[in-house]
């Protein structure tokens, strides 16, 4: 088990280097000149001298690989440079916006886990009951609705018509309800179906038949089914964490939520490259790390994975 974890951690290093290189390359392939952009956003006329001076200041006159190495080194120290717009450090900007996003994602995650686990388990236990059929109908609709539309619908109904929650911003607990619901709705639908199907599949396995033959009680049987089903859904559930955090981009913009998603979108509009680069690297790292944690956790749950690796 320990060797497995060490090997997996060592394996993510080349992946992270690859990610950083690709994100750096993509930004550099962008047709507009960062130096010119940096001047424009500060409303300075981009004369030739000004551009050259700015290039020097931003280190853009150096060759591509040298710039990459410098940027990578700085990134490792969490120094992503300064924003072109307000010249403040990018890491500070991100750290300021991060708590709001984490708060939103955490509420959405709790909603997703709670609702989908309960609904999935109930649907599997009462397979083909009316409740199960209705839930499956809702799942079908919820999976099909894009979340910007869901957000607007919820806002219209609960904030405008019923006036139960604020339409936007981050003020008090009620303001998180609508964005978190919007964010988690499609995940709730996906995971309810995943858990339901996985439990039904496990319910018909031979070891459950033998469990019943051994005279085990209903709750013990459900425990066995559940552990096996969780085992097969854990990868998907674990990967929902980075998806929820990165998925806030659209929701944050609809509900004017002051998180990193909105920071990133405004950075894209302003061509504020350092922020975009930092955001990409951060999200990619998040995905890789979460993937690693999920793998370790499932190896911990399932002895067969430990043996295979």
């Amino acid at each position: 088990m320990r060797n497995y974890i060490i090997r997996r951690i060592l394996l993510i290093i080349p992946i992270l280097i690859g990610i950083s290189f690709i994100s750096f390359l993509l930004i550099n392939l962008n047709p507009s000149d960062p130096a010119e952009v940096a001047l424009r956003v500060n409303e300075i006329v981009p004369t030739d001298e000004a551009v050259t001076a700015m290039r020097e200041e931003l280190g853009l006159d150096k060759p591509f690989f040298q710039r990459y190495i410098i940027w990578l080194g700085n990134s490792l120290r969490l120094d992503f440079g300064n924003s072109y717009v307000n010249n403040k450090p990018v890491s500070g900007e991100i750290l300021n916006a991060l708590p709001a996003t984490l708060y939103l994602a955490a509420v959405a995650l709790i909603m997703t886990l709670g609702i989908s686990m309960i609904a999935g388990i109930l649907c599997a236990i009462f397979e083909d009951s009316i409740g199960d059929k209705i839930t499956r109908g809702i799942i079908f609709v919820a999976t099909a609705m894009p979340n910007f539309w869901v957000g607007l619908l919820l806002m219209w109904l609960f904030a405008v018509k019923l006036d139960l929650f604020p339409t936007s911003g981050m003020r008090g607990f009620t303001s998180v309800v609508l964005p978190a619901t919007t964010l988690s709705l499609s995940y709730i639908a996906i995971y309810t179906r995943l858990i339901r199907n996985s439990m039904i599949q496990n319910k018909n396995e031979n070891y459950i038949l033998y469990g019943r033959i051994r005279g085990l009680g209903n709750w013990v049987i459900i425990k066995h089914i559940l552990k096996n089903s969780i085992q097969s859904s854990i990868t998907a559930l674990g990967m929902s964490i980075p998806k929820l955090i990165s998925g806030t981009v659209i929701v944050e913009n609809i509900f004017a939520w002051p998180g990193i998603g909105r920071l990133c979108v405004s950075a894209i509009f302003n061509r504020d490259y350092p922020i975009i680069q930092a955001y990409i690297v951060m999200m990619a790292t998040l995905f890789v790390v979460c993937n690693l944690l999920v793998d370790i956790f499932s190896a911990f749950l399932d002895p067969r994975i430990r043996r295979m690796t």
């Binding site: 031979n206 033998y210 051994r214 085990l216 067969r304």
Partner: protein, 281 residues
């Protein structure tokens, strides 16, 4: 008194109206062995599942089952759960998939014994190890720490039998317990069944298509074909003078096939008739 009496047991598939079992009637006396024989798909396993009320929801089971003279109620899952395991144990054919892959064998043995015998975990563990020793698993202390995928099919089969034996049920249903085993393991398992019957008086319902094993263990035989009983009676009678054409066909063909097993069962005898039995194969 008859231990188990089955009257007119029928199973119908509600999805297409197809009848899977046609009115089976048989009984099992204490301290005896009834064998159900027949080819694959003849409804042998379905009979066991129907007895234990473990059929899929789309199958309709009709008929009455009496245990100790009392009818087992239908639609009473709690009552049935108390009977399963404790009064009627069953051994499955496919040992490789019969245990939950995420728990150790020891945990699953403990869990079973604790549920059925209302004992502490420690006592259950000791009892499990003892039962495994009796089944010829001598390193039981290591085996209980293993996960199902780390053990062989034969070993898992023995664990399954050990569980059933530790509980000492009134009736043990063995659904083709020797099919997945090689001839030497088969001999051990059959001997264990004989031992169990001698020491505890547990009645055995033995499902098999291996007539060699059946002849050795069973006092009574029920021959099945396409979900119906074609012949039911005394084992000697059926093996010597089969009344039904199908039974005769089965006895003739299958006896030849089970020669290797019998060779091992009667080692001394084999020495003498070695040449003869070799010709039969």
């Amino acid at each position: 008194m008859t231990l188990l009496k089955v009257e007119n047991l029928s199973v119908t598939d509600l999805r297409n109206g197809e009848r899977i079992l046609h009115g089976l009637t048989f009984s099992l006396e204490p301290n005896s062995c009834l064998a159900i024989v027949g080819e694959s798909g003849s409804g042998k396993s379905m009979t066991c599942k129907a007895l234990l009320q473990l059929t899929n929801p789309w199958l309709e089971v009709k008929g009455s089952v009496y245990l100790h003279g009392k009818e087992i109620p239908k639609n009473n899952p709690n009552e049935m759960q108390k009977i399963r395991g404790k009064k009627i144990s069953m051994i499955l054919q496919d040992a490789m998939t019969a245990f939950d892959p995420l728990y150790t064998i020891g945990y699953q043995i403990e869990e079973t014994l604790c549920t059925n015998l209302k004992m502490s975990k420690k006592a259950a563990q000791a009892m499990g190890i003892e039962a495994m020793n009796r089944m010829g698993i001598y390193d039981a202390k290591n085996v209980i720490k293993k996960y199902p995928h780390q053990l062989s099919g034969g070993m898992l089969q023995r664990c399954m039998i050990a569980i059933a034996m530790a509980i000492e049920p009134d009736i043990m249903i063995a659904d083709e317990p020797t099919t997945a085993l090689d001839a030497i393991n088969q001999r051990d398992v059959v001997e264990q069944f004989e031992l169990l019957q001698r020491t505890t008086g547990t009645a055995i319902l033995f499902i098999s298509h291996d007539l060699g094993v059946v002849q050795r263990l069973a006092q009574k035989v029920l021959v099945m074909k396409e979900g119906s009983c074609v012949e039911y009676g005394d084992a000697n009678q059926i093996f010597r003078r089969p009344q039904n054409d199908y039974t005769r066909y089965l006895v003739e063909t299958r006896m030849a096939l089970s020669q290797p097993f019998r060779k091992i069962m009667d080692r001394e005898e084999v020495e003498v008739v070695n040449v003869k039995s070799a010709e039969c194969i």
